[in-house]
Homo-oligomer: 101 residues x 3
């Protein structure tokens, strides 16, 4: 039986144009890794990001609860008002917690 | 500390050819946003969707429990029998619940 | 109301070069389906997989707890030491549990 521990998985879907800045901000918040996939999205405010404009990115970050809270704060302060950004988080199990703290 | 609230995240993996119809049905069920990524998949019934046929799509929807239940019903009624569709759901935390209700 | 049951969703992010071997190993562990999306990633050890080298893959597997444990064991035995692999798991609800057992 593997010994699993809990960390927070956070998913952020944003316009592709914010990619570099978002990755920098995630690092500044203490995130130590991320997974990025290209995406298309339509948000609750019906702002559809045109594929012509470069589409969207879906970024997944595993982090401690503290780091996740800092990311939430950053998104609220600098992203939600200005960009078509959606985010959600949930607890996940990992094998080697120390990598994410 | 961010004030987070719970909504349901639903993931649907389907043949790319059903994309337009699926998105329409999600809206009709009350979903107000979605994230779409290209994918390849192999389902439990060993039906592998050929890349030549256009591959698969992975659609993520955040919704209230009620809307999620309507999507489940729609998938059961109109998709699972006819298409290579997989779906799963789980609770996630969001910062601005009102956007998803 | 749909009758949902719980299975484990496991996400594995790995260098694209291990794709065939990983899919084989997932099957050998008892997984009956998977969803694959292209990805880029940076892990906690700062090993960024170059896009030039083919990037990364993000593989999602729905499985029973037993199968998930076997996959964790396989990752620990054969992947974590040698490759830039990240993995996490969490419980999800599905409509037709029998497909994943």
């Amino acid at each position: 039986m593997p010994e699993l521990s809990e960390v927070t998985c956070m998913v952020i879907v944003a316009e592709a144009l914010v990619e570099s800045r978002l990755i920098e901000d995630l690092h500044a918040c203490g995130a130590r890794g991320w997974t990025l996939t290209p995406a298309q999205g339509q948000g609750p405010r019906n702002r559809r990001v045109s594929e012509i404009e470069g589409g969207s990115i879906r970024v997944e970050v595993l982090a401690s609860v503290d780091v996740a809270n800092q990311i939430w704060q950053k998104l609220e302060d600098d992203y939600f008002g200005d960009y078509g950004v959606s985010a959600w988080s949930y607890p996940v199990q990992v094998l080697r917690t120390s990598r994410y703290r």
